[in-house]
Amino acid sequence: MSYYDFLFVIEVLVGGLLSGVMYSLVAIGFVLIYKTSGVLNFAQGSMVLFAALTFVSLVERGIPFVLSLLITFAAMVVLGFTIERTVLRPLVNRSPMTLFMATLGLSYIIEGAAQLVWGTQVHGLDLGIDDTPFEVGGILISSFDLLASGIAAAMVAGLSAFFYWTRIGLAFRAVADDQFAALAVGLRLPRIWGTVWTAAGFVALVAGLLWGARLGVQFSLSLIVLKALPVLVLGGFDSILGAIVGGLIIGASEKLAEVYLGPFVGGGIEGWFAYALALVVLLVRPSGLFGQKTVERV
């Protein structure tokens, strides 16, 4: 292998890792809700679309950036509590499959509502982050992706601190461990779930802004859940650390596979390669690399 080839491998690897962080951003939203309520929220992608579309539509109407951000966050809070009140609460104690189907339906409703309110036009989103690549030792690195990684890292650190060092975080963990025990000691589950959906809404907002700046704000934003699902399977549905590590592994491996295996099988393999990898992990570790093993009395 020549020095140039070696550099190329590193470049593909770094690019893949940075892409993986972007997948993790979406996956974290899933983890938050799954961790505390056991619901696989298929509507997370639609929430990303809703957040980004709301934000960009407000900015385009002349509302200042920061105010648009605050209004959008407020909208996500309202959305989170509305979902808890109108969907989750009536379905409490239903099977996980019922809840999953409910979020699937919710996904279509949010997508439709976002387009109904803000229209179907494609929008550009400029966050003022320069995306000109810079070179380190012959390797091109995207400044945008690097900043996105920094934001994701800060968000993970913030969420971890929130979970471990705040009262409400402690309540989240208690609910995640045992909902009935949490209820028995006086925790108000509806309020906690509403707050969790709000937190997931905040994650959706951050992911929506970063992915929106990458893809443009358009319907396809809701399809980024397809990138997050193998990350969750691999990292575990209830682990924030798993979402990060899973994202890095999926991002790096799918890019390396596309470049080095793709040409032997006609190319275009990264779409399914991530799922194949997740399937292998599922066979070996059904709860993912960092997921909590479920033990049930039978």
């Binding site: 892409s19 494609v122 990458r214 893809l215 704000v217 358009q218 396809s220 793709g262």
Partner: protein
């Protein structure tokens, strides 16, 4: 677009559907399998908006085509094949259907056998199955203006013109970045053929659907150091390609987009990364053309314009819809000249399409000079030898940067015939003759 404006539009659409079920004499009906929500809504609203705007212009300004009122109704497909077929089943029983215009390769493929049985034309302007160009085998399918092979030839001819001639292509390296779908793969063999003919080095790289992640593909492109990249994308794949090209240091002015990578929706999300990007088109964008001006004055002036956002008037998809409207209406007009000024059968309109000859003088008379070049459809050539031009994005708008360019039809025709004849053999289809084409079902 507000909630209430959507409600108003839905109410109007419903009224049209209800009205369309009772088509009277002297009305010609267009069933529209449109997509105004979903991933491709931006393209759908622009195209169907332009098409409806033109039909409205004919009704308001001329009172219809020779007194025959044009009617239509819409069914939402979200660009999904099963919904497209469902809409077809729902609308096909309406009387006086002129032609179907789904603007979707998948839906068009699913309809070929059905519309052939119905004897109603299926228009796939600028897209569709290449061998449907051969009217001997596909009597009711019309890939008007540009089929995928002609598009490929037009792009290669344009790159050659930038390099100083076709002979200068020898030794150049071209990468084709294509969407991982039947649409994206349609041109693989023709690029290979042209590569062998002109001696350029070719690499074709697939981007899996939907194309929101292309790091690996563009790093591969960077390693190959091509002279040009042809972008054969769709939807979100296009802005992501332009952004990732910037990230990997590939210049936008050496990327040439195909006909479904040429809209404002493809470049605006890419921001500055799209500056200098060039794409092929069959119709220019802009509001300056007389027919577009008339639509603004007559249709939007009467409050009947279809686009909610008036800044989209004259955009690529809107103008494509207008051109599509012109071609449909002129086919009806030509058929009326033979069969009478009345509601025509689908087969009579098919005859009209097969005699759709609009030379530059007629195009100018229709107010579309420089909007599109010309068309010359015949019973066996359903594409009609459309010319192409190239436009470059300056960060705010498209600017035309080439003359009208003719694809190499002579080179392509034998390949198309080989494919269509194989299809005919497989399906047991009798190859039509000119006499067959003149036999028309009038009731």
């Amino acid at each position: 677009m507000t909630f209430f404006s959507h409600l108003r539009k839905a109410a109007i659409a419903t009224a049209f559907v209800l009205g369309a079920t009772a088509v009277h004499a002297d009305e010609q009906y267009f069933p529209l399998q449109s997509y105004r929500v979903g991933p491709y809504a931006a393209g759908g609203t622009g195209f169907f908006g332009g098409f409806i705007d033109y039909l409205n212009l004919i009704n308001i300004r001329d009172g219809g085509v020779n007194g025959v009122k044009l009617t239509w109704s819409e069914g939402e497909t979200q660009y999904e094949v099963e919904k497209g077929v469902e809409v077809y089943e729902r609308l096909k029983s309406n009387p006086g259907i002129a032609a179907w215009n789904p603007l979707s390769v998948g839906i068009a493929y699913a309809m070929i056998d059905r519309i052939t049985d119905d004897k109603v034309p299926l228009i796939t302007i600028n897209h569709g199955r290449t061998d449907t160009t051969d009217g001997r085998v596909f009597p009711y399918v019309f890939p008007l203006l540009l089929n995928p092979y002609s598009e490929t030839s037009g792009i290669v001819n344009y790159i050659a013109s930038k390099e100083g001639g076709l002979d200068k292509l020898k030794g150049k390296k071209i990468v084709v970045l294509y969407h991982g779908s039947p649409y994206g793969k349609e041109t693989i063999p023709i690029y290979e053929l042209l590569s062998q003919k002109y001696g350029f080095e070719l690499s074709q790289i697939e981007v899996p659907h939907p194309g929101n992640e292309q790091q690996a593909q563009w790093l591969t492109i960077r390693r190959e150091h091509p002279d040009y990249v042809v972008l054969r994308g769709w939807g979100v794949m296009n802005p992501v390609a332009l952004k990732t090209a910037q990230k990997t240091g590939f210049p936008a002015d050496h990327i040439v987009g195909n006909v479904w990578s040429n809209s404002e929706e493809d470049v605006i999300p890419a921001g500055d990364a799209a500056k200098g990007y060039t794409a092929i088109t069959t119709q220019a964008s802009g509001e300056q053309y007389p027919v577009v001006q008339e639509i603004v004055k007559t249709v939007y002036g009467a409050g009947k314009g279809n686009l909610e956002d008036k800044s989209r008037i004259g955009s690529v998809y809107h103008n494509l819809g207008i051109v599509n409207g012109i071609l449909n209406v002129e086919a009806v007009r030509i058929a009326q000249a033979k069969f009478g000024n009345r509601t025509l059968t689908g087969d009579e309109v098919r005859w009209g399409f097969e005699h759709l000859k609009l030379d530059p003088a007629r195009v100018e008379a229709l107010g579309a000079k420089d909007l599109f070049h010309s068309i010359n459809v015949s019973w066996d050539n359903h594409e009609g030898d459309g010319y192409v031009t190239f436009q470059q994005w300056d960060g705010k708008k498209w600017n035309v940067v080439s003359d009208w360019i003719a694809p190499d039809w002579k080179l392509l025709r034998p390949i198309i015939e080989k494919s269509s004849e194989a299809y005919a053999k497989e399906k047991g289809i009798k190859i039509r003759t000119a006499e067959d084409a003149d036999a028309v079902v009038s009731n």
